[in-house]
Each structure stands twice: as C-alpha cells, then as structure tokens.
C-alpha cells in the first residue's frame, strides 16, 4: 500500500513550468529518493507535498489525505526537514526541540520525555544543553530530524538532508535514519544530488529532469535498463538528464545552497 501518491502534478511559476505532469508512488515503510539536477522540480514537489504551494493541476495524497484539500491533516502526518538550516542557533538543542514540541501540541506530560527520547535517538543527549551555534553541521541536521519526528509523523520529507556535510557526518545522519526506520517504520522521501547515497540508502528512486520523471525503479532496475555493463546510478542519472542545463537552478537557489553549506562549515 502506498503512503504517498503523486498524480500528474503540474506546477507553474507564471509562464515557467517547473513540474510537468510528474507522478510516482511511495510504498509505506520504504526510502524513496527523488533525484535530479538543480532546477529539475524536486523542491517544487516538496513544496506541494508540504502544502506550501498549490499545484496548477494534478493531485497528491499522503496517507489517503489529499494535500490541497486537507492541508491541516496532512501537516499532522508529515515531518519535514528543509534544505536550509532551520534550527535556531541562539537556542540550545533542547530548547529548539521543546519549541517544536509545543508547535505540534504535544501534551505537556509527554513533552519533556519525548524531547529527551528523540535527542537520545539522534545521539544528541550530551550536547542537548549547548547552544546550537556551537554544533557541527551533522549535529544540526540530526537535531532538525529530531525536531521533525517529535509528533511521530508517518512520512518524513527530507530535502537534501546531507548537503554540505562531510562523509563522516553524512554516514552518521543515514545511520540514525536507518535506526529510526527500524524502530518506527516511518516512510522516507528524500531528495538528493548524491548518487552514491541514493544507491546505498534508497529502496527506490525517481530521476527528474526539466520537471518530468524520466525514470523510476530500484537502483538495480535503473542500472539494468541502462544496458551498460558495470554502469552506475550516476551513469543512469547522466543519461536521463543530459538534455538539461548543467548549471541549472536560479541565483536565489544557488545562494541559499551556498549559505546552507557555509553555515554547516
């Protein structure tokens, strides 16, 4: 059964069509990767799924609830970690998490224990009372994931969760996500540029380019479809996206990504 269904989604910004009839489904409990170059439409799809953007046409259902018509319900079912660093640097890890616990209306008696539980799950207990601006990039990301999990979401949306992280921090984030899946069975939708990550961590992936889904399946299936002996997912990615501008993404998107990378150190 599918936790997320996207059907023939079209997103326009004025005359520019960012997403052209994209459709895919994510099985409950799986890790689904949305791959594509800058400007492919991945973030637009994320914005539609978080009910921040209304599509020009098409629909998306999250756990049986239509995103546009039932935005409030959908927001209670999802956890979202945006690409930009969203933790407040002037607060401690615990204060950040407590703020999100209140925003998600967790009952007062559960709040403290739930915050402690998530900080422990993300290996942040010893740093919980330090201000976030003293954290490493990987720790900030893990804190953000902890904050997104406080209300026990069934679907976690991660927009480039490991962008700007060094390989050690990247592995730590994925290790914690794997533990989380084992414990809770949460479904993950991840956008990423890293083919290596997609290959290792995602059960299935969809490759997007110029607003369209160009290929969907397990990394093995996509590699087999390429028909090149020893071909990697990166080869698949390149073959499916070669017709797009290699330096896609508008100035704003690029400057935001750079700022995130800078904040992550």
């Amino acid at each position: 059964m599918k936790a997320l269904i996207v059907d023939d989604l079209v997103v326009r910004y004025g005359d520019f069509v960012a997403v052209r009839g994209a459709g895919f489904g994510v099985e409950a409990g799986e890790v689904f990767g949305l791959l594509g170059p800058n400007g492919a439409g991945k973030t637009s799809i994320m914005r539609v799924l978080t009910a921040l953007l209304r599509p020009a046409s098409g629909r998306a259902w999250i756990l049986g609830h239509e995103v546009g018509a039932e935005a409030a319900t959908v927001r209670r079912l999802i956890g979202y970690v945006p690409q930009a660093l969203s933790a407040d640097g002037s607060l401690t890890g615990r204060e950040n998490a407590s703020m999100f616990a209140r925003l998600h209306a967790l009952p007062r008696r559960d709040r403290g224990s739930r915050v402690d539980e998530l900080l422990e799950l993300m290996d942040l207990t010893s740093a919980a009372d330090r201000v976030v601006r003293s954290y490493s990039g990987g720790m900030v990301r893990r804190l953000e994931i902890a904050c997104a999990l406080l209300h026990r979401p069934r679907l976690l949306l991660l927009d480039e969760p490991t962008i700007g992280l060094d390989p050690v921090a990247r592995r730590a984030v994925w290790r914690h996500l794997a533990e989380l899946r084992e414990e809770t069975g949460v479904t993950l939708l991840v956008t990423t540029h890293s083919m290596e990550e997609a290959e290792e961590e995602c059960h299935r992936v969809a490759v997007m380019s110029a607003g369209e889904i160009r290929g969907e399946g397990t990394p093995q299936e996509l590699r087999a479809a390429l028909g090149v002996p020893g071909g990697t997912l990166e080869d698949v990615f390149v073959s499916l996206t070669t017709d797009t501008e290699p330096e896609g993404g508008d100035l704003r998107a690029i400057s935001r990504a750079r700022r995130t990378a800078r904040r992550l150190g």
């Binding site: 059964m1 489904g25 756990l63 945006p82 607060l91 925003l103 209306a105």
Partner: protein, 141 residues
Amino acid sequence: MPSVAPAAPPDALVEAVPALSPAQLASSYLGTVVAMAQAELHRARRERSVLVARAAQPLLWLLVFGAAVSSVRDLGVAGVPYKAFLVPGVLAQSVLFVAIFSGMAIIWERDLGITQRLLVAPVFRSAIILGKAVSSAMRLS
C-alpha cells in the same frame, strides 16, 4: 466553504486522523504563541549585553541629549519640562526600532528558509504572527 477532498486512489494506505476539538484548537493556538515567546525569553537570557544596550539607548536620548538640548532656550515647549516633552518621542522611537528590527529578522528568516518549517507545522498562521508580535513586545519591555 470547505473544499471536499477527492477520494484517495485504491492503492493508498489510509491513516485515519481524528478531528481536533475546539478546545484542542484553542490550546494549539495558545501553544504556538507561548512557544515563540518562550524562545525569545531564552534568547534574551543569553544575550544580556543586547538587553543592556537596548535599555541604555532611550536613557541616553533622554538624559544626555534631553539635558543638553533643554538648555537651549526658545524650544517652544512652554509650560512643559523639556524631558517630559521628550519622553513620548523616545518611547515611540523605541517601538519603531524594535518593530523595524523584528520585521527585518522575519525577512531574514524567510530568506534563509527558517520560516518554511514554521509554516509546515500544523499551526495557525495568525498564531505565528501573534507569537512574533508578542516576542517583539517582550524585547521592548
């Protein structure tokens, strides 16, 4: 009029979500405002020097500039001590400055993508605005 949600496709996993009662909605609204105000209190506790600077600025205007300017004759505030005349203006200026800086902080947060996370949380948009306003008022007082 609330829009009618289209039926989910047959292969969709459907998770029933109980509707919130008016009491729960009110508590969520208040919780959002309190959460933002509390975060501001934590920040203020840590940035005492900023608090001192904020408090010192109006006093500087009032005591130093006020005292200096009041010694000039013919200011046209006959019958009112000059410092008393100055107080409403200094207060208005403090309000204006805090409002400007708070507004700038919101734009900065929006540009960094921080606001996105608040908007994705299941909270009332007006509660976010009210929370920000309460936080700014606390910064002022």
